[in-house]
């Protein structure tokens, strides 16, 4: 039987038979593939990065090309939370609460210097949380103040690779993703 790899990165192998084909693969791979192409982000912009997130959603960059356009206002319908902006001490419990309300599996992108490490507000401030990962676990970090829309798109694609690989959070390293 002729076995060939499909052009679409759909998991599994297509075995062509007269009048159709048979697909073999694992259910986990198929679920992860489907999940990665339909990640719904939560509308969570606290400051400047939110404007670049809106730019990414607009016609020029258009994140709906990758299945991210269904931005939800409620955490109960969202898959990924894009932390676009600074998290301060008063906001941290709210962020935790939002994260807890999201259904599993849930993913987190820290967009920009503030959400990554406190960024420009690292020194000499009394109210800024120095990185959102002090509050909730983060999957993908983006550098920049604010990051360009291309950087956000790259982060979204990186998250897709991560979701497709299906490995638990601790096992993923940069090297594995670039393969």
């Amino acid at each position: 039987m002729d076995v060939k790899k499909p052009m679409d990165p759909f998991p599994g192998q297509v075995h062509e038979t007269p009048g159709g084909g048979i697909l073999t693969g694992t259910l986990d791979d198929v679920i992860n593939w489907a999940r990665s192409n339909s990640l719904w982000p939560l509308v969570f912009g606290t400051s400047c990065c939110a404007i670049e997130m809106m730019s990414t959603a607009s016609a020029k960059y258009d994140w709906s090309r990758f299945g991210f356009e269904v931005a939800r206002a409620t955490p109960r319908q969202a898959d990924v939370i894009i932390i676009a902006g600074t998290i301060v001490n008063k906001m941290a419990p709210v962020l935790k609460r939002l994260y807890d309300q999201m259904p599993e599996p849930r993913y987190v992108i820290a967009m920009g210097a503030c959400a990554t490490s406190g960024g420009p507000f690292f020194y000499n401030t009394y109210s800024v949380v120095k990185g959102a990962d002090h509050v909730i676990p983060v999957d993908v970090y983006i550098a920049g103040c604010p990051p360009r829309p291309e950087a956000l798109l790259h982060a979204l694609l990186t998250l897709q690779v991560k979701v497709k690989s299906g490995a638990p959070r601790e096992k993923i390293t940069i090297g594995e993703i670039s393969k």
């Binding site: 670049e52 020029k60 301060v88 906001m91 000499n124």
Partner: protein, 371 residues
């Protein structure tokens, strides 16, 4: 605080909006007391994005602190930088080259356009129309491209420094700006057709969220919010800076004081900005783009204040100097804070469904309010 949902003794319903809510344009928390559908009281809770910028500035030098102000009202980043640069120049007694003055005005007006475009898209989204958002961002990306070439950043530019601007204009600047002005002018008809003359939009906006001229003054409103009530408050006219007095433009004024008047004022301001750019784009003087300054700036002991008209209103910077390299105290007067303080007054008696439209017409930027 988040558990305040419930009813009062009089049987009024108390609900929370925010801090994470798409209509609050950031992280603002409103506690609303409702009698049926009618708003009895709106209580804003601030501090969800308080980054202690004023305190931080006390330990930054006069060159450094300007950068943190781009992150306050990020939609008017140039104007924030501008006010700070002017306050420092006032202390140093610096004379700014003519070229730098014109570049500053051009950049400020482009930023005002970008800010109002985003507001236009968001305003239409607040009353339920999604499409205008994409129209607005199409034009806004052109301004972002212009900014990127000259300033090196799309949003937080940090372009204005004490003594002038950081870099000279990019060779493409004039051509690209003219292209943009021509393109954007042709789009006003589309904007009017899509939103301004839309009967559904007008019904949502007219006679909703009124504020009288007296109240606007006593709440300290500025910018388009005050001008929609007939209060002349354009700093570009009242206290001209950087040569705005030599330009030919009129202040946009409306008298109705409702949501629709605030909408019309901002639409008029966009046209004004285009005409200012038209007047200057072919008349950029040759010369230096930055005055010569010392590497370390020290302001003489004293107090310095400067104000500019941002896209939201009167933005002021107050510096107290003890003679060192860092300010002793800095206070920012942000227009959003005063405009938000009028929200309770404006929204009382309105229906809960109109609250989002009122907030949209105030054009709040929360990091500007919380600082």
């Amino acid at each position: 605080m988040l558990e305040e949902i419930g009813t009062t003794e009089q049987g009024d319903l108390v609900i929370n909006v925010g801090p994470q809510h798409p209509s609050t344009h950031g992280v603002l928390h409103l506690v609303i007391t409702l009698n049926g559908e009618t708003i009895k009281k709106v209580e804003p809770h601030l501090g969800y994005i308080h980054r202690s910028i004023e305190k931080m500035c006390e330990s930054l030098t006069y060159r450094q602190f300007i950068y943190s102000t781009s992150r306050m009202d990020y939609l008017s980043a140039h104007m924030n930088n501008h006010a700070c640069a002017m306050a420092v120049e006032q202390g140093l007694g610096l004379e700014i080259p003519a070229r730098a003055r014109v570049i500053r005005i051009l950049m400020s007006e482009l930023t005002r356009l970008a800010s109002h475009q985003l507001w236009w898209g968001a305003m239409a989204m607040d009353v339920g129309a999604i499409t205008p958002f994409f129209h607005a961002f199409r034009e806004r990306e052109m301004i972002n491209d212009i900014m990127e070439e000259t300033c090196g950043a799309r949003l937080t530019m940090n372009y204005m420094v004490p003594g002038g601007v950081m870099f000279d204009l990019h060779p493409n600047f004039q051509v690209k700006t003219k292209d943009f002005v021509r393109f954007f002018r042709s789009k006003f008809d589309e904007y009017d057709e899509l939103v301004t003359n839309n009967i559904i939009f007008q019904e949502r906006m007219k006679n909703v969220g009124r504020i009288s001229a007296e109240d606007a003054v006593s709440f300290g409103c500025s910018g388009p919010v005050a001008r929609a009530s007939g209060v002349s408050s354009d700093i570009r006219k009242l206290a001209p800076y950087e040569g705005y007095d030599q330009l030919n433009f009129t202040e946009a004024l409306e008298t109705a004081g409702d949501n629709y008047a605030r909408y019309l004022v901002r639409m008029q301001e966009m046209r004004t900005s285009l005409s200012i750019i038209d007047q200057l784009i072919d008349n950029i003087p040759e010369g230096d783009f930055q005055a010569k300054t010392k590497a370390v700036l020290k302001l003489p002991k004293g107090e310095y204040y400067s104000r500019v008209e941002t896209a939201r209103g009167d933005f002021g910077v107050y510096i107290v100097s003890e003679g060192g390299t860092t300010p002793y105290r800095i206070k920012f007067r942000s227009p959003g804070f005063s405009n938000l303080s009028a929200l309770d007054h404006i929204a009382r008696g309105c229906k809960i469904g109109d609250l989002v439209a009122i907030m949209g017409s105030l054009d709040l930027v929360i990091p500007d309010i919380d600082r």
